[in-house]
Symmetry: C2
Subunit: 271 residues, 2 copies
């Protein structure tokens, strides 16, 4: 079974998508054909959206689902006239929160992604620059690092560091364990002063071989044997040095970051 | 007025935070002290969470607000016993969707951020690698780029490219306009073949000077005069060449990305 879903927003649509995806994945038997309609902030754009939704309805014979974060009731009415199943993300929460806080909400929806707080912006940018300059052993002075991820090549360190920087302003460096480190089974001297901030990423050998093969087809680097040796040695090194680690094989970047934050007691919330 | 908010999840907590932040920013007069409690997936962790919430309640005398995405009713009950205002993110949507789809939801909440689809993971990683290798004019072969961002130094190109890669798998390169380009008021020859994929980022001179001053205090590069000249020339160059552009001064990274996608008709949804 396939159903069409539209994420509609008067701003970016990120909130609608995030909650929509979380809800939809709870219906395992259904495939969803998803569309994002951002910045639907006047009657003309709402009419255009309604026409698209209506057309889908007519062609498929199935009622489209709309996950909506538009604030303006008049725009919601225009889209609702398409006959779609309208699911308003904010409506259920506003009443109880207004009662609790003794305040009326302002009209501005989705300001979370539609405004800039310069302090936060700078924290994101500075952390991103930090991740870029301390990626893959480029700059190995880790004095200012909140965290240093270690692991073999292609174990997921770089995207995790960039994600933590962009969304949490966490300055995370990453250091790729070299063959020499793995041979000696010793934490490199330059990492030792920062032991309490180290975290290891591991991965299943078959998966690592697949990732490396995509990057360097036919190389020794991508063989299962080499991957298995590196991962075995890395696991031993981390165990001996008492470095916490996580197997990333079945884990998304978001979940890797959250687990690392949990481990280090970092409760910082997202930007 | 300040109120304490806990985002509680049996997984990463990203959905709870995203919708929670969107709702809370609609209450402008209130400051929120936010805490994220991730991976609350057994009775013991739920008890620990309840104790923390209760303590906050007793100390502040004000009822904490809990934005909850835990699936298991027994865990929700434990947390609710703290006396907090419980706001369940999924509850309002599940009934109508079960009716519409004629299917019961599975128990698995927050799978959106707790599972790996290898195809999507690879798209994210490949796009991130693309953004890294085509950042700041490092590799200027743009044949495989979905988009190329142009602009003066520090106008926000790099974080925007990384964000689009990590979250949408969009391969975005960025090219910093050089003094020579700006002097000649001509699109560099290497960009001309990709004109339909170019997008310009602009920024207000005072804001750019502030950002550059942070990076290179006292430099000519950071003077308002230099920033103004570069930005004037860049705007002229983009206008003459017919390149669409966006002033990023008051716009978050998420919104920049969404606006670019809107401009190019990219409806790809988030990973």
């Amino acid at each position: 079974m396939q159903r069409t879903v539209f994420f509609i927003s008067d701003s970016t649509g990120i909130t609608a998508e995030t909650i929509g995806n979380s809800i939809l994945t709870q219906f395992e038997g259904v495939t969803f054909d998803k569309h994002r309609l951002s910045f639907v902030d006047d009657a003309q754009k709402a009419e255009a959206a309604a026409v698209r939704i209506k057309t889908h309805y007519a062609q498929s014979g199935q009622r489209p689902i709309v996950i909506n974060t538009m604030a303006e009731p008049a725009l919601c009415d225009i889209v609702a006239a398409s006959g779609a199943l309208m699911m308003d993300v904010f409506a259920p929460f506003i009443g109880p929160l207004e009662d609790e806080l003794g305040a009326k909400r302002s009209g501005a929806v989705n300001r979370a992604h539609g405004m800039v707080d310069y302090g936060k912006y700078e924290a994101r940018i500075n952390a991103t620059n930090y991740a870029l300059s301390h990626d893959d052993g480029i700059d190995v002075n880790y004095a200012d690092a909140d965290l240093v991820l270690i692991g073999v090549s292609r174990s997921g360190k770089t995207p995790t560091c960039l994600y933590m920087a962009l969304h949490y302003g966490v300055s995370a460096a990453n250091y790729p364990l070299t063959e020499e480190d793995l041979d000696r089974l010793e934490l490199p001297a330059l990492l030792r002063p920062y032991k309490s901030r180290l975290f290891g990423l591991t991965i299943e050998p078959a998966r690592l071989a697949q990732i490396r093969e995509q990057r360097s087809p036919g190389s020794k680097y991508a063989t299962l044997k080499q991957c298995r040796w590196e991962l075995d040695q890395a696991a031993r090194l981390m165990r001996q040095a008492g470095i916490p680690s996580l197997n990333t094989t079945h884990v998304s970047i978001e979940e890797i970051a959250s687990k690392i934050f949990s481990r280090f007691g970092i409760e910082r919330t997202m930007f």
